[in-house]
Subunit: 256 residues, 2 copies
Amino acid sequence: MLNPAVSQAAAPMTAAARSARAAEFQTAGQEIAEVLRLIQEQLQPQRRIVRAGETLYQAGERFGNLYVLNSGLFKLINLSSDGREQVVALKFRGDWLGFDGIAAGQYACDAVAMDTGEVWVMRYDAVLAACALRPALLRVLHEAMSREIGRDRDSLMSVCSLPADARVADFLRYWAESLAKRGLRTDQITLRMTRAEIGNYLGMTLETVSRSLSRLARQQLICFTEKGRRDVHIPDVMALVSFVQSAVAPAPATLQ
Amino acid sequence: MLNPAVSQAAAPMTAAARSARAAEFQTAGQEIAEVLRLIQEQLQPQRRIVRAGETLYQAGERFGNLYVLNSGLFKLINLSSDGREQVVALKFRGDWLGFDGIAAGQYACDAVAMDTGEVWVMRYDAVLAACALRPALLRVLHEAMSREIGRDRDSLMSVCSLPADARVADFLRYWAESLAKRGLRTDQITLRMTRAEIGNYLGMTLETVSRSLSRLARQQLICFTEKGRRDVHIPDVMALVSFVQSAVAPAPATLQ
DNA sequence: CGTTCGATTGAGGAAGATCAATTAATGTGG
DNA sequence: CCACATTAATTGATCTTCCTCAATCGAACG
């Protein structure tokens, strides 16, 4: 978009940087588990099993609950007043859902499960009451909201400043790192979105998504499993990071 | 981008819809004033005058304060790990700043004043303490965070689903409505951003911003004042809304 | 009054959208 | 389990939007 697309093999990363990143994710995974434990203890939330395609809440619906994802995967679909609709966020284990409803007293988007999962349901009032007794819980709540703000802005930056291939690469990186932070396998990703949905999320057409994935595969940054192109194997997440960087800082022209 | 650009004069809006929208903004303006009063009473924040160009906090700086804007105008500039930087949000009277710092314990962006203004400075801990005593304050805080999440997503949608001209129109509409909600004059806007900054915020080049503004002016959706092209006169905000809609729902082909 | 920075406008080119055809996966009823 | 229908994905050809490069103009400022 703004920057020239650079189609090049990615630069490698040092082993030190690699293990630092891995350690960071490991502690993050522990934190997520701790937070879930705290929520469970303090709020005794109602558990709800959702299946792929089920809607947790819908845009316009009266706000009242907050949700925490214990397992599974959600997409949030925003609708504008003029009828556009778009995937604006993805939610993984440990993420909260429903914050968007607090401001106006009604949810601003649809929360749709992309997989079977378990959601913890809590009345917002009950959360507030528990927070009043347990400051740690309030801190956790605010951290979650703050993280959501930060993530939304990162999405905006990706869409605004990266060319299509890098945007897809950054999307895969984000997905892989989200799994890594939760202690899940990161080399094999099952994309539970169609090309059209990915494109909708990233601000491009499904054809461009398909072409970008093909190009990334041709450059060995990803590979498809033998059965189906829904599963993506990422041999090295850092290579994706480097690829995005190389697209931003185009062609250093043998500078050192 | 995703949708075909439609260059047409905008459809008018009913007087009823117009006044409903105006009333909505008036009550919003009162709410903002009330919220500011509540904050002032409960927190007795330290006041700080900022001048255009001054930085309230910077990315990476240790988090500790939250801020509320009593007057003036701020931009938030996000920086990615690979060096890209982008305007990701604008802040008006009554808006909070600093939420992005809660999650990681350090701010994630630069907050830069675009105008002389007054900022209220509060320790995050002090805010939490006050919230513990006054549930209304906690509600206000959460509403502000929720609104920020919602706004960020609207930005994302605009960038992902609108062609350049509509994106600029939507930007002007957002700015005008932000002023309207605060009881300020909405027909005359002083853009305190260069074309380059606007383009950076909207994900397009400064030339495209310039051309889009020229086209909007040619269609009488905006006009420039005699002195300078920094001031934009918007004769009818609703016409901008209609223009964006017409770009989304392309050419109904004389349907009715 | 020249210098500088920002804005405008034009010409050409490139990334990505659109249209279209083909192939692969998924599902359905017999 | 297969034939068929349906939906998703890929790939190619063409067209549009917007980016890039460049020149000009205007405003602000020392």
